[in-house]
Structure formats: C-alpha cells, structure tokens
C-alpha cells in the first residue's frame, strides 16, 4: 500500500462504484473504460486503455497468460495487470471498486469483453 505521508506523488482521488458481476463486465466513465477480468473467484477491474497508444485492451486476447493489445500487439502479463488493477472488494456477486475520479461518474455496463472471464 502506498502510504499517504510517504508518497512522493499525490495520490489521485478515486470514486466509489458498485456493480453486479453477473450483470456487468465493464464500467464507463466519460471516455474512460474499465473492464472486468476474472481469474477463478477473483475479480479484477482493469483500465482498458493500452499504455502504448490507448488501444482497447478489453478487446484483446489472452495468450499464455499474457494479454495482447489488438492494435499494436503489445503484451501485458495478466498477473501484473491484476496486481495493478483498481482497488476492489467482492462479496458474492457484488463488487465495489474505486476508480480514478473524473467529471463523469462510472456507469456499470455489459459489453463485448474478450479478455474478461477466467482469463487465467
């Protein structure tokens, strides 16, 4: 955990969002999209924008435990993506996640996510 008093950079504010993993597999906040990746019983909420050129990672495929960006083919180890996922807790199917705060409130949606369920 990054400690507040010791942080070099200020911690960006986050906003709470809740969704049902049985009904939703992504959240949208303005132009930002976050998708749900499930590994076993663990649920991870991951930023969809590829750090390279902003490609839609939620449409990428998982190969050998690595997620491949559909635009330029960058690979990201799934374990690392999950470790860096947005902070969340799940109780049953109810998931609470804290996403970066923007002018837009996150809205849970169900959409096409190719890198989503049981991507182990």
């Amino acid at each position: 955990m990054s400690a507040r008093p010791r942080s070099k950079a200020p911690v960006p504010p986050r906003v709470r969002a809740e969704f049902d993993r049985g009904e939703h597999n992504a959240l949208v906040a303005g132009d930002d999209m976050y998708f749900v990746m499930e590994r076993g019983t663990d649920v991870h909420v991951i930023t969809s924008a590829c750090p390279h050129r902003g490609g839609p990672l939620h449409l990428g495929e998982v190969e050998d435990d690595r997620l491949r960006c559909p635009w330029h083919g960058s690979f990201f180890p799934v374990g690392r993506l999950c470790d860096r996922a947005h902070p969340s807790v799940r109780v049953g199917d109810a998931v609470t996640v804290y996403l970066p705060a923007t002018d837009h409130s996150p809205v849970p949606v169900h959409t096409m996510v190719r890198a989503g369920v049981n991507a182990a």
Binding site: M1, S2, R4, R6, D42, C82, P87
Partner: protein, 447 residues
Amino acid sequence: MTIQTSGPGVLADESVRYSHAPQFRATNKPFVPDNPYHRPLDPERVAAVDWSRPVTEETFASDRSLVAHRLLMNVYESDALFLPAAGLGRFENDFHAFYDSGSRLSGERIRPELERFAFGFMEDAVGVSGKWDEETLRTHLRHAVDSANSPGSRPVFEAIRAAKNPSVAAGTQIVQMALDGLTEATAMSQNLGGAFGPEQSELFKIFVDEFGYGVFPAKHSTLFMELCSSVGMATTSHHYWFFYLPSSIAMNNYFYWATRNRTGFFRYIGAMAFLEATFAAWFADLTKVFRDAFGDAVDTRYCDEHAHIDQHHGRMAVEDLLIPLARKHGPVAVKGLLQGVEEIQYLDRLAGADLLTQLSWDPALSDAPAKTPAAGVTALDSDSPFDTRLATGDTRLSVLSGEALLYNSATGDPLRVPHGRSVLVPDGCLYGVRAEGRAEISAGPEA
C-alpha cells in the same frame, strides 16, 4: 501403506471419537448450570453429518453447521482456562477430561478440516483485488462503518421491540452475546504474544481496557455478568449451551479461526477494527432496547462501557493498528485486513438473518392431525437426553401420546404440547423437546 491424516473421511471418524469424550456427555436438562466443561455433543448426530458437503451461504444457518461449530468451539476453547465460579469441587473429573491431552489432540486433528468445512465458503464469497492506497482504504472503511450505523440497519433490535414478549426476545439476544461476553477478548489475548513491533503494544492497550485494567469489577466480562444477573439470567459459561444459534457460534469461532491460523492475523485485525469502529453506536442503541424490554432494573453498564470506550477503540484499531500494519507490511497485509473487514460484515449479515428468523417464530399449538412420518416415532421420558437442533425445512412436530415441552428460547417458558396437538417449526429455527413423563412424538417435513 498410506495413512490418511486429513480429509472428510478422517473428520468423520475422528469427530465421532472426539464427541464421545466424557465432558461432552448428554444431559436430560435444557440448561448446563455451573459446569463450564460440560458441553453435550451427540455422537450420533456428529456421525450423521456428511462432511464431504461443506457449509455454504445457503446452509450457514443449518443443523450441520450447528454441529460443526459446536465441535469447533470446544476445540478452540480448550485452549483457554475455565474454572467454575463455585470452585472445582464437583467438577474435578470434567476439568481433567476437558483439558486431557488425548482429547485435545483429537480436537486438533479435526480442527483444520472442520475449519474448511465451516468457513471454506468465505474464500469463494469474499475477494479483495487491486492496488490499494491509504486514502482509498480509509474511504472504504468509512463507508463500511457509516453503512453499519445507518438508520434502519438494526432489524434485530426492531424485532425485539416488536416481539410478543420483548424481555424473552432480549434474553435470546443476551444468550447469543454470552458466547463472547463471558470470555470477552480471549481470542485477542491469544494475539498478544510474539514480537510484532509497536502494533503489539497498541493491541495491548485495547486489551487492557477489555480486562478492566486488572480490576475485576471493571472487566468487560464482569460487566456482562452483571447485565445477566440484573435480568435473572445465569452468569456461568455455557449455561445456555443448547440455545446458541449456529451463526452466533460461527461469529465467535471466526475470531479463534483467524487467531489459530497465524497468517490470519491481518484478517483478525481487520474484523476486530471494523467491529470496534461500529460498536459504540451499536451498544448505545442496545442500551435503549434493553431499557425498553426490561425497564429500569436492567444493568446496562456493559453496553454503556462499550458505547464509550469503543469510540476510542474504533479510532485506535484503525489508526494505530490497521493503517500502520498496512503501511508496513504491504499488499499481503492490506488483502488480509480488508478480507477481515468484509468477512465480518458478511457473517454479521448472515447471523442477523439467522437471529431474526428465530425471533420471528412464535410457536403456536395447532390442531393439525398428528401424522406418523416415515422417520418414525420417538419415545421420550424424563431421563431422555435433551438436545436442540435446527429445523431442516418447515417441520411438523406432533405429540402422539403424553405431553411434550417445546423450547425455542432459553428464557421463555417452554410450550406445553399435549397429546394430539402439533406445532409447526419453521425452516431454520432452533428447537428442543423434552418430556416430564412418558410421551411419544414425531417430527417430519410439513406437507
């Protein structure tokens, strides 16, 4: 040759062996006075449990969950010292039996598999993911505490006030609290040893409050005994053994489970911090409920003390324990701490529903004709062992001859069910039956 040392098969054999120990013998009485070691377990009921089907959320309040948690409670509590208030005199044999090395070894053999059976479902039910920062952790905790204290969050208290006899309903609440109240902070005491830095001392500060700074009349469990005495209830451990709901035992066992498995320490701190942060408001409300139910005679110092000191403990447990542990020990600690915060809320919701089910049941005689179910007829007399169980599905209890006494609470009078009458026991309700003379009863699913 392979020797099986774990798994449902070992649990099936060993749990029956364990429950045959003399301190777990049967009694024909609904209460177990003065003897903290005598905790009846029926080996036949233990043998009937299918250990290959662990408890789930749906079966959390079930008869097999009750059997499992009774077993677990005895295993855990044989690590703590109990001495009868009136002296060992009559109980010397049980004292030695309860702490017998063979019995404790048998308990230790079944413990890991029993824990998986009773608590394994939480691993699937609750998950923590992602990279947490301190501000988000604080925000999440604040939200959880505020939700727990929000208006309308105490349906059990409302049910006690609305009960036909609020003092009996409040007595049922006290019985469930007695599990922890009479041995308060025992699991916490088992987390005080070792060497884990400044947080060890911070935990000790909370502990000394629980123990009244070494002043017996100020000890929380002493205040709990005064509460019990003031409303005519017993003050000795497990007097009300038969009347604990499975979820109440589970809540108590949870803290022992997290404590006995040392890697569960962060889980323990998370759960404890959440409860300490919510207790002040909860106990303030409980004082009002007890005043409404019992009038001015009830001694609420136990609740008042919590309503005050837990304002401090809530802050101390979060600021001086949870947050520093998260900062120092990183993701593994954060995950454990949050797991504890979420699990205790989850269990509390399930336990609230279980207690609400029990409180909502007002047994009434019915003229529904007594049927002899396929399960057959049970003959009772005044020497028959007493036991309580949870109804699996709506259950029709019929008295075929004589008269039976139906118990659904520890403090109310039992319902006398005469020959030819019956009572519907709703699914998930705890009940026990005894007879003062010869009687025949049958119990089976309601059509």
